[in-house]
């Protein structure tokens, strides 16, 4: 197709719905990718480790965003899926002796099933009631993980310690850099998958269910199936993040997966930008770095500072960081057109 031609209406619609990328978006993506690839060469191993965590949380935030942002189902329990993924990876690696990269699909598969099954009863619950049911899940998680009958595998309170993977092919880079690139690759793959999933029929069905479930089912969308599948996919993303998190931290224990983790994911979704894929990256960065910045500002009351940050974010960027960037870009484009 000739690029210089005036785009037809079909293409315009595709651009508007985000199903196709504009040239500016492709350039932006390429630049972001180049920056992400170059990043670990300019910072210390410790900072690289923090960015690895941000990448991992971004995957979890995207998982939750698919559920909340695109499908309108609330969850305060995604820390539980994160825990399931983390424990799957840890148990496969430590007593199991499985290589770390195989634990990623395994954790994803386990969480897909768990999430789907949890999604079935959740169908009967809407909005706040679903939020409460999932809240119960995340409150129970640390104690369930301590349960004695499974402590042979989970290590009980003591948890499971695992060894950090070395870079493959004799690459001369530090473990932290390797893990960063590995997580980044997994994230990119999952982001492309999510983009593919959400831009077509499926994405429209999910949004239709979110905006008006009755109309959606009248249009022939199988609401029940879609909703529980969305739960499953969402859990899959979070579970994979959990597995990566276990490998990066080298340790899992029940106290790692408390209620606050689930809330952090929600914070990431909202501050990153609801119903936006790139927003998840900002969500991950926020989860890792805002508490640290808060602690630097005030050692005495870091959580008060954290709260202040959240309020400021919500006040100045009500549509999240990604929404804010889009708004700036739109303003800039309009001015250019006007000028």
């Amino acid at each position: 197709m000739d690029r210089g031609m005036k785009p037809d209406t079909r293409e315009l619609a595709a651009l508007a719905s985000g199903a196709k990328l504009s040239r500016a978006q492709i350039i932006g993506l390429a630049m972001a990718l180049a920056a992400a690839l170059a990043l670990p060469w300019f910072i210390s191993d410790y900072r690289t480790f923090q960015f690895t965590l941000a990448v991992i949380y971004a995957i979890a935030v995207l998982g939750l965003n698919i559920l909340i942002g695109y499908n309108g189902q609330f969850s305060l329990g995604h820390g539980a899926f994160y825990a399931v993924g983390a424990y799957t990876a840890a148990i496969l690696m430590d007593p199991g002796g499985v290589a770390y990269y195989w634990t990623i699909p395994a954790a994803g598969a386990v969480c897909l099933v768990v999430g789907f099954l949890f999604g079935l009863p959740a169908l009967r619950l809407e909005g706040l009631y679903l939020a409460l049911a999932t809240f119960a899940l995340s409150v129970a998680t640390p104690q369930l993980l301590k349960y004695d009958a499974i402590s042979k595998w989970t290590g009980g309170v003591q948890g499971v310690a695992i060894i950090k993977p070395d870079p493959p092919f004799g690459l001369e880079i530090s473990q932290d850099r390797w893990l960063y690139y590995f997580s980044l690759a997994v994230m990119l793959l999952l982001f492309v998958c999510a983009w593919n999933l959400l831009r077509g029929r499926t994405g429209r069905a999910l949004k239709a269910i979110r905006d008006n479930p009755i109309a959606a089912s009248a249009m022939g969308v199988n609401t029940a199936l879609y909703k529980s599948l969305t739960f499953g996919v969402s859990a899959l993303y979070t579970g994979i993040a959990g597995a990566l998190g276990a490998i990066a931290i080298q340790f899992v224990a029940p106290d790692s997966f408390n209620l606050f983790l689930s809330i952090s994911f929600l914070v990431g979704v909202v501050i990153g930008g609801l119903a936006s894929i790139p927003g998840a990256v900002f969500g991950g960065v926020v989860i890792v770095f805002i508490p640290n910045v808060a602690e630097q500002v005030s050692k005495a009351a870091p959580w008060a500072i954290y709260g202040t940050f959240l309020i400021l974010f919500m006040y100045f960027m009500p549509t999240g960081i990604w929404g804010f960037i889009r708004m700036l870009y739109a303003r800039f484009a309009r001015r250019r057109r006007a000028g």
């Binding site: 410790y46 340790f251 790692s256």
Partner: protein, 404 residues
């Protein structure tokens, strides 16, 4: 060898102090210079265990006093304390920040079994001392596999062995019933106790019951233990369950010789809710002086502690045992750094820490000392038994050291 080094160090220190300059050329690992020593610390200032945050404040105040008095061998302590909210992943992040970003010489008093387990491999992989950690689990005294990690307070098994020792000498025909929390903490105590009884464990222990932290009560377990015909009861429970067990054992008319683990010896937090009258006769083990105990009123260490509290922590709650604990453990750290002299390498710090012979630490009970060797990474092992008299714990008998 050690003596020589100490002598040299002491001479150098004296010279440095006398001359008013700390120009002595020392050997250093990251985190130590002629001017300062960076010490990292991880503590839950927020989250479910934030009550322990007090310990961090106490240690910071102690080091402030050390700095005000000229520091250690002329070097000031830069104490960097981080919050992990009792979350293991956060502890890993903070440990990495302290070691890689802030470049501390060592991490001191990181608190909590989960958090310390999370950073255990990392610290030993990096060969950075993880010194005097604030947990009683037995895992910290494993110099063969983890030569960079050391505990401080008596370990749970060590305490259990003291009760076993008492039984073997005072009541060798006891029939013992045990209630324990079904996790690593409970099993640490249980195994230490059985080990302490040795071959006699089989005949002496007549009943064992466990409970889950999630259980609402331990009433049914107490009934079972009572029905076993036991005349001695070892109560391995955390505060809430300890109070229930004491009350139920009393109300059911069971009058055993009742050992209560150190974890739950708080008078206000456990014995009051259980009923002070029902708690009379309980036996526990203690190793540190209580600031509330009137017998230490004229004790020089306690007076020094009081002066320090008034000057550096005005208005703080003097009845909290965290302040005495923090004072004593910070003293131990300071002493290790003092003895390391001008060789402030990480290897030498561990060497000094593992050669503490009978170190007298203020506020520890008379007869209780810090004692380590390259094969013994359990600094405090001696404790004294104490009986509850309806008001306070009254110590009795000798200080017992299970290893000797």
């Amino acid at each position: 060898m050690i003596h020589n080094r100490l002598l040299v160090a002491a001479a150098a220190a004296a010279f440095a102090l006398g001359a008013g300059t700390a120009a002595a050329a020392g050997k250093y690992s990251p985190g130590a210079t002629d001017k300062e020593i960076k010490i990292g610390h991880i503590n839950p200032y927020s989250g479910p265990a934030s009550a322990y945050g007090t310990i961090g404040k106490a240690i910071a105040a102690y080091f402030k006093m050390v700095n005000d008095n000229g520091g250690i061998n002329g070097r000031k302590i830069d104490f960097i304390s981080m919050d992990d909210g009792y979350s293991p992943p956060k502890a890993v992040e903070q440990a990495r920040k302290l070691v890689e970003q802030d470049q501390v010489l060592l991490i001191f008093q990181s608190l909590g079994t989960p958090s310390n387990t999370a950073i255990h491999k990392y610290m030993n992989g990096k060969k950075v001392p993880q010194l005097f950690v604030a947990t009683g689990a037995s895992a910290w005294g494993d110099p063969k596999h983890f030569p960079w990690t050391m505990g401080w307070q008596p370990s749970y098994p060590a305490e259990a062995k003291i009760y076993a020792h008492y039984l073997l000498t005072q009541k060798p025909n006891a029939k013992v019933a045990i209630l324990y929390q079904n996790d690593d903490y409970g099993k640490d105590y249980l195994n230490g106790f059985l080990e302490g009884l040795g071959a006699k464990a089989k005949t002496m222990v007549v009943a064992k019951e466990s409970y889950e932290v999630t259980d609402p009560t331990v009433d049914s377990q107490i009934i079972k233990l009572k029905d076993s015909g036991a005349d001695t009861f070892f109560n391995i429970t955390t505060p809430k369950f300890a109070a229930q067990a004491i009350r139920k054992a009393y109300d059911s008319g069971w009058k055993p010789l009742h050992f209560l683990n150190n974890v739950s010896q708080s008078v206000g937090g456990v014995l009051k809710p259980a009923g002070l009258d029902k708690s009379v006769g309980l036996i526990t083990a203690v190793y540190i002086k209580e600031s509330t105990d009137p017998q230490w009123k004229d004790d020089a260490d306690m007076q020094a502690w009081n002066t320090w509290m008034d000057k550096y922590l005005p208005g703080a709650d003097k009845t909290s045992s965290f302040y005495t604990y923090g004072y004593a453990v910070a003293y131990t750290m300071t002493e290790v750094l003092k003895r390391a002299g001008n060789d402030l390498t990480r290897a030498n710090i561990m060497k000094v820490a593992s050669h503490l012979k009978d170190l007298k630490v203020p506020l520890l009970l008379p007869g209780v000392a810090v004692d380590t060797s390259p094969s013994d990474f359990y600094p405090i092992e001696c404790e004294q038994l104490a009986k509850f008299d309806g008001e306070k714990w009254a110590r009795f008998g000798d200080v017992i050291c299970p290893k000797r």
